[in-house]
Symmetry: C2
Subunit: 195 residues, 2 copies
């Protein structure tokens, strides 16, 4: 049909994670046909978020303030610092309600094959943050993918060299799951770390 | 975390079809962390599309021009008019390369339970368009869902009453499929319409 404004919209939507050509077309047609107000609102929200959200000066999560609400919260325990790969992982940990310390959000995880090294993920900022004299324990809460494990490994070495206690989230059987359907490597870890 | 700009972005992304809370969060974090340029481009594309794209004066598909390129194309056969539910369906028909006539794009399909009647889908515009004295055959290419069938039924009656030849896309076994896995109602239709 070669409508440049439509093609540009489909291309821009395709850049969203998990969106292919067909979904992008469906989204574009939906917005134009049924939700032009939603399209305008999304455009404004994107502009506002890009302009206003920036990394927190202390933990690097996204915030509109200089320092995010979590870092400013006096009820959080400043002796505990959890390291996560992304703000989304931080949000998941917060929802679990299991952690009352502070966070440090990396810029993703190590991926040597893609040229993502310790500098790219902001490891130096973490080492500086963890050396504030208040932090006593760093909990490595990066993912349990190969790259997440590699990241945890590399950071653990550097943090321990600075005299910090370093722990890792426990691996084990997910809550609510039948043992029969849990993969063998998870069962082996759960057996090894039994308590 | 209560960051208003982030919450607004997640809410706006959730309005896209097929996007739930988790996907919307992932999209928002991805854009902020890795693709701020993509976020700006998407905002601009949304604004431009909403401003510039409007219904074609003849077929009601989306176009930047007064009349879309398909309707202006002198090589298309103006005696054939295919009726589709959405611009996305029109695009699918075009990609199939099986139709050289013109189109009329409805505003969706009848859905009496949701209060979507013949007026809401623009049936009157279709009847006016089909009565231009040039159109000889109207091909009803609405979907084969219950609502698509209902729409085809209602339109067929109105079009036939105006002396037009009305046809419907054939139902049958999809190309490339094993009979064993085709649903029974499709097989029954394919048997009834065998040729």
């Amino acid at each position: 049909m070669s409508e440049p404004a439509l093609d540009a919209l489909v291309d821009a939507l395709r850049r969203l994670p998990g969106v292919g050509v067909k979904s992008a077309q469906r989204m574009a047609f939906h917005l134009l046909q049924h939700d032009r107000d939603g399209a305008r609102r999304l455009a404004a929200a994107l502009e506002a978020a890009v302009q206003r959200m920036h990394p927190c000066a202390r933990c690097h999560t996204f915030t509109e303030a200089e320092v995010c609400a979590t870092c400013r919260d006096p009820r959080r325990d400043p002796k505990l610092l959890a390291v996560v790969e992304t703000p989304a992982d931080q949000a998941a940990l917060e929802r679990s309600g299991s952690f009352k310390g502070l966070y440090y959000v990396l810029m993703g995880r190590l991926s040597p094959l893609d040229g993502v090294g310790v500098e790219q993920i902001g490891a130096e900022g973490l080492l500086a943050r963890a050396a504030d004299g208040v932090v006593e324990e760093v909990i490595l809460a990066t993912g349990f993918s190969a790259e997440g494990e590699l990241t945890a490994h590399a950071l653990a070495a550097a943090l321990r060299a600075r005299g910090l206690k370093v722990t890792r989230l426990a691996r084990g059987v997910p809550a609510g799951s039948e043992l029969e359907y849990v993969d063998l490597s998870t069962i082996a870890h759960a057996m090894g770390d039994r308590r």
